[in-house]
Amino acid sequence: MTTVQPHETTGVAFTLNGEAFGADVEPRRTLSDVIREDAELTGTHLGCEHGVCGACTVLIDGQPARSCLMLAVQADGADVTTIEGLAAPDGSLHPVQQAMHDAHGFQCAFCSPGFMMSTIALLAENPSPTRDEIKEELSGNLCRCTGYETILNGVETAVRLMGADRGGAS
C-alpha cells in the first residue's frame, strides 16, 4: 500500500532503452514528462498531452502506448523503449528510421517518433501489412504537415528492408 500526498514524491524505477532508470517523481507527473525532463530524452514529443495526437507514443513491454496518458508511477517495473532506443550503439539507424529517411517520410518531423514507435510495434506483429492495414494501425498518429503518403511509403519501405534483413523476398 502506497500513499503519496500532493507535491510529495515517490520512487519509480523502470527499464529505459535497455538501461535501469530511477527517479523520485510526483505521482501526478506523466511518463512523457519524466522521460523528457528527468531522463532528458527529448525525442518523445508532446503534441496534445491528452491522448489525441500520438506524438508521445512509446513502447511499454514492446506494445505502443501514449506516454502522456500514463502516470510515471504506472510504469514502475516496465520495459520502456523510446525513439532514442532504436539506433544501434554505433549510430546506424533502425530499419524503420532508415526507411522513413529513404522515403522522405519526414517533413517537420514532430510526429515522426510516435509514427516510428507505432510502426515498429505494427511490423513486429505483422511483418508484411497491406497499405490499408498500415493506415488502420497508424490511425492513432496525426501528422499536421499531412505528409501521410510519404509516411505510408516509409512503412512499406521498412517492410522491404526488414524482409531483406530476414533473408526473405522483398
Binding site: 506523466t30 496518458l69 500514463m70 504506472q74
Partner: protein, 290 residues
Amino acid sequence: MKNPPFVYHRPDSLEAALALLATHGDDAKVLAGGQSLLPTMALRLGPPEQLIDIGRVPGLDTIEVTDGAVTIGALVRHATAEGSADVADNAPLIAQAMPLVGHRAIRNRGTVVGSIAHADPAAEMPAVVLATGATMLASSQSGSREISAEEFFEGYLTTSLRADELLTGVRFPAWSPGSAGAVVEVSRRHGDYAMVGLACRIDVDGGVITDAALAFFGVGATPTRCGPGEEALIGQPPGPDAFAAAAAAVADDLDPTADVHASANYRRHVAGVLTRDGLSTAVEKMGALT
C-alpha cells in the same frame, strides 16, 4: 495540460482498495487503464482529490468462462480481450467491438470494465452491455452486489455505482447458438468516437426471431435501446423485410441529440441505416439466417 495535484493511493489488495473507497469515495476516482480518466484530468475537468490506482490489485486481470458466461475482470485491457480466444468464442459482441475502440495504443492500456464504469454514451462497450444483458459486479466494504444492464447507466458519464463501490468485473451471459449479433458504427475517422453506433443481437428459434436488442451509442446521454425497433423484429423471420421494418421503426422512434459533429436528423437517418446493416452483418457473420 499537466495533471493537477492529488493524493495518490496504490492499494495492493482488494480489501485495501475498498477501504480507501469507503473513506474517500466522494472525492476519489479509480485509476485502471487511465485512457479516459487521464485526459479529463489533463484538461482539469473535475479532477479528483484522491486517486486510487488499482493497477497492482491482484486477481482483477482475469477472463473467466463459466457455462458459457464470460466474466471480464476490472484490469483486463482492451487489447487482451481483443486477442482472447475465450472472448472470441463465447462473447462475439465484445470481440467485434474491440477493434472499434480507440486506437491500438489506447487499447493496449485502456480496460474493458473501465470503459463501462466511465459510461461514455458514445463508447462501444456500454452498448454491448445493454445488447447482451450483462451484469455489473460491484464490491464495497459492506458486501458485493450485482447490477443489471438496465439499472446501470443513469446519465451522461453517470452510473448507479455508489461512491464506495468498485466495479470488479462484468459478466456477459452465455451466447446461445441461435444468437446473431454485430457492432457497427459511423465515425469521422477510424478510432474516433462514433457519431452513431449500434450493438445488436437477435435470438432465432424455429426460423423466427424470438428476442432482439438494438442498443445505440452516440445518440444521447446514455446508451439507448430502441423498443419499437426490437418489437418490429420479434416473431419475424430474420431477413431483409424484417430488418427494413426495424430500420424504419428506429428512424421513427429515436430522438438523438445534435452537436457539432452531426444533426439529430442525420443521426436518426444513420441509426436506421446501421440497423439494417448491423442486422444483415449479424446473420452473415453468424450464419443464423435460416
